[in-house]
Symmetry: C2
Subunit: 410 residues, 2 copies
C-alpha cells in the first residue's frame, strides 16, 4: 500500500475508535497489553532480525533492543492508561444565545494522528495506547531500522483486537520507510495532526516538509540560573540531579547561568562535584577565570542540547542579563532559577518564555507522570495547541454543536 | 529592513504589550480608535494612492476602498474590544504534587503573531486590536496593493501610542510585499504563530511554505442536509438565508444535500425560491430528473466554495449517505441538518467532522460575535489549537509555573 492509501485506510476506520465507549477503549488497552506479553517471543524474534542488520552504534542499538522486561514495561504502560480519564465527549462550555441557539463546545478526538519517530519500538505501542484512549486513529511511521519489530508489535495488537470483535484498522503502520515516503506522509491530507518524536533533525525535517499541522516536541536546551541569593545547599543537588540523573533525556539541564557573586563563592565546588560525576564542564572566559576546572566553550555549545554528561557555564550580572541570555539560547522547554529572592523568582517565572519555568527545583520534573497527567505523547516546545507535557487531553480537538429550531441570521 | 529584521524587532519589543496591564491595553485601543478617526484624511489619501494604481477588478477594488464610514466602523471595532475580558494571566489549573511542587498552568500571549492577508486594509487595524488585547506583538504582511493604506493605518496608530508614552514597536508592518518576502516571513524563527487570512490559494501557499506553526482559517464549503423528515417551513428560510444573505462570506452555504423523498415533495419549490433570489442552481442527475430548473453540476462544483449566488444539489438516500458525502466534500467549516427526527439530528452532530455542526439553523451563525465571543481573528478549519471562531483566548498559549523548595527527581 502507498503512504496515502495507508492513511486513507486509517481515516476510513477512524470511527471504530472515535465512537467507542470508554469501557471498550479500556478493553482494547487490556487486550493489547496481554497480547504483547503473550506473544513476546514473536516480537523478540522480529527484534533480533532488526538488530542483526543494525550497524549504527551501541547507544542507538540499545534504544532499538527489546527484551522480556522491556516488553513487560510497555504492556504495563498500556494497562496504566486505563485508569486515566477519557477526555472525549467533555462539554467544555455551553450557552444559549439571545436567538435561542443552544451552543456547546464538545471535546472530540483529532481524527487521524500521524507519528513519525526513530528506531525505538516501544514508541509504537505507547503511541497506539495513547491514541486508543484519546479516540484517535493512528498512522505510525517508524524507522526502517526497527521495521520488523514495529510490524510484529502492530500485528500482535491488531490480531488481539480482531479476535475479540474490534475493528483494528484504525491502527496502521507504514510499510514505506523511505525518505520519499516520509515526505508523502508529512503532506498527507488524511492526517489531522503529525507528531514527530525524536531528534532535533527529525523535527526540523518535519517542520520543513509538512503541510499538515505539526506539534513540535522534545528538544530541550534547558537552563538553570543560579541567582546571587541562591542557597548552595539547594543549588548543588538541583544541578547534579538535573544534569546527571538521566543525561540522555530532553528535560536534563544543559547550561548553567551563574551570577558572578555566586560563582565567586561556589562555582569551583559545584564544578568539582559535577566532574566527580563524570561531567565535562565548558564555560565562557569569566567562568574559566573563576574556576580552572572549566574548559573553553565554543559559541555553539550554548545552543547545543548535549544529551550527555556535558554542561556549559555562562557568567552574568543580574536577572535581566540571565533572562535575556536564556530566552536567546533556550529551546523553550524547561528552565529553572535557584534563588532565595521571591521577587526575582516571580520575575523569572513571568519573563522566561518556556513551556515549564521552575523556582528551586530540578528541570527533570517536566514529564506527564510527574505533573500528574499520566502517560504523555511528548513535551511540546511550541506554543500552538499544547505546550509542555502532552497527555490525552492534548490529543483532542473540539467542535461546536449548535441546536436550533429554525433560526436564521438577520 | 528585511523581513527577518522586522520580525526580530517585533519580538524584541513584545514585552511592551505582553506585560501591559488590562487598563493599559484598553487605553491603547482607545488611542488607536481615536487616531484612526482623527487622521482619517491621511489614511484616505494613502488609500487613494493605492486605488489609483489598482487594476484587478471591481469586487477586489471594493474590498480595498476605504471611506470615512468604513474607518469609523474599524475604530468602533477597536473600542468594542475594550469590553472583552483579557485572557492573559488566567490560572487555567493548579495543583500541588506529592513532592510539594506547586504547579500552575497560566495563560500567556503567544508572543509574536504573524498575519498574512490580502488587499483589505481594515484587517490591518482589526489584527492590531486583537493582538493588543491578547498581549501579542504583531507583524503584518498585507498585500502590495494596499501598502500605502496599511502603512498609513499603522503609522497613525503607532504615533498615537508613542505620543502617550507607550512603546509601539511591538507593531510592525513588513515593507517587503514580494513573494520572496512572504516566503521568508513564513519561515521566520521570530514568529510564534502565523495566521493567513484570505483566499484558499493564500492559505494553501502558506501551508506549503511555512515552517512556523500556522492556523488555517476560513475556507468554507458549507452544506445543508435536508433530511426526509425536515419541516419545509424551516428548511426554506434556512436555505435562503444561508445562501443569499451574504454569499461572499465563508459561512454561506454552498451545497444542498437532499433526501430523495424530501426532494420529490419540495425541491422544485425550493429551487424556484432560490432562482427568484438570483441563485444559479446546479445539481447531480437525480436532482435534475426531479426539477427542471437545475443545471448540470460538474464533479468539481461539489468541491467548490462559490462565494457567489450559486449552489449545488446532491440527492441522497438517508443520513449515512448524506454524512459520508458531506465529510468527503466539506472543508470542515460549518454544516447543518434540517430535520424533525431527534435521533438523526444527534447522529449528524456526532458524525459530521466540522468545526460547527447545526441542527435546524442557518450556517451563517458561525461568527465570533454571533457565538458571543466578540471580535474574531478568523474561523479555524483545522483541529489543532483552535477550531471554529477564533477570539482573544485562541490568540493565547499557556505555560507551566512550578514553585519548589529544592525538589529533585528520584
Amino acid at each position: 500500500m502507498t503512504v496515502n492509501e495507508t492513511c486513507r485506510l486509517a481515516k476510513a476506520n477512524a470511527n471504530a475508535v472515535a465512537f467507542s465507549t470508554e469501557s471498550e477503549k479500556n478493553e482494547m488497552l487490556s487486550l493489547a497489553a496481554e497480547a504483547l506479553t503473550a506473544h513476546a517471543d514473536e516480537i523478540l524474534a522480529a527484534n533480533t532480525r532488526d538488530l542483526d542488520r543494525f550497524t549504527r552504534g551501541e547507544q542507538l542499538r540499545d534504544r532499538l533492543a527489546l527484551n522480556e522486561s522491556r516488553i513487560a514495561g510497555v504492556a504495563e504502560g498500556l494497562r496504566q492508561l486505563r485508569a486515566l480519564p477519557c477526555p472525549v465527549g467533555e462539554v467544555i462550555e455551553r450557552h444559549t444565545t439571545a436567538s435561542g441557539l443552544k451552543i456547546e463546545r464538545v471535546r472530540v478526538p483529532f481524527g487521524v494522528v500521524g507519528i513519525i519517530y526513530e528506531a525505538r519500538p516501544n514508541v509504537t505501542a505507547d503511541a497506539i495506547g495513547l491514541c486508543v484512549k484519546s479516540g484517535n486513529a493512528v498512522v505510525l511511521r517508524g524507522s526502517g531500522d526497527a521495521y520488523e519489530s514495529n510490524r510484529a508489535i502492530v500485528a500482535v495488537i491488531k490480531r488481539a483486537l480482531k479476535e475479540k470483535g474490534f475493528n483494528p484498522e484504525f491502527i496502521q503502520l507504514l510499510d514505506d520507510c523511505s525518505r520519499e515516503g516520509a515526505r508523502e506522509f508529512m503532506r498527507c491530507q488524511s492526517l489531522d495532526v503529525l507528531i514527530p518524536r525524536g531528534s532535533a533533525s527529525l523535527i526540523q525535517s518535519t517542520l520543513e516538509n509538512a503541510t499538515v499541522p505539526v506539534i513540535e516536541t522534545g528538544t530541550g536546551n534547558c537552563h538553570i540560573y543560579l541567582e546571587a541569593s541562591a542557597d548552595f545547599q539547594k543549588a548543588l543537588p538541583i544541578v547534579i540531579n538535573a544534569k546527571t540523573q538521566r543525561p540522555s533525556v530532553c528535560n536534563a539541564a544543559e547550561s548553567l547561568v551563574v551570577d558572578e557573586s555566586f560563582a565567586r563563592a561556589h562555582l569551583c565546588e559545584l564544578v568539582s562535584a559535577l566532574r566527580d560525576k563524570g561531567v565535562e564542564v565548558v564555560g565562557d572566559e569569566p567562568s574559566r577565570a573563576i574556576c580552572s576546572g572549566i574548559l573553553p566553550a565554543a559559541e555553539e555549545d550554548f545552543y547545543t542540547e548535549f544529551l550527555a554528561l556535558k554542561i556549559s557555564v555562562k557568567i552574568v550580572n543580574g536577572a535581566d542579563e540571565a533572562i535575556a541570555f536564556i530566552n536567546e539560547h533556550s529551546t523553550g522547554h524547561s528552565e529553572a532559577i535557584v534563588t532565595e529572592n521571591g521577587e526575582l523568582a516571580e520575575k523569572f517565572l513571568r519573563e522566561i518564555d518556556s513551556a515549564c519555568v521552575y523556582v528551586n527545583a530540578s528541570t527533570r520534573f517536566t514529564d506527564g507522570f510527574e505533573f500528574g497527567f499520566g502517560a504523555e505523547m511528548g513535551i511540546s516546545t511550541q506554543k500552538l495547541h499544547a505546550r509542555g507535557p502532552m497527555g490525552l487531553r492534548e490529543l483532542t480537538s473540539y467542535k461546536f454543536l449548535i441546536r436550533g429550531n429554525g433560526q436564521i441570521r438577520t
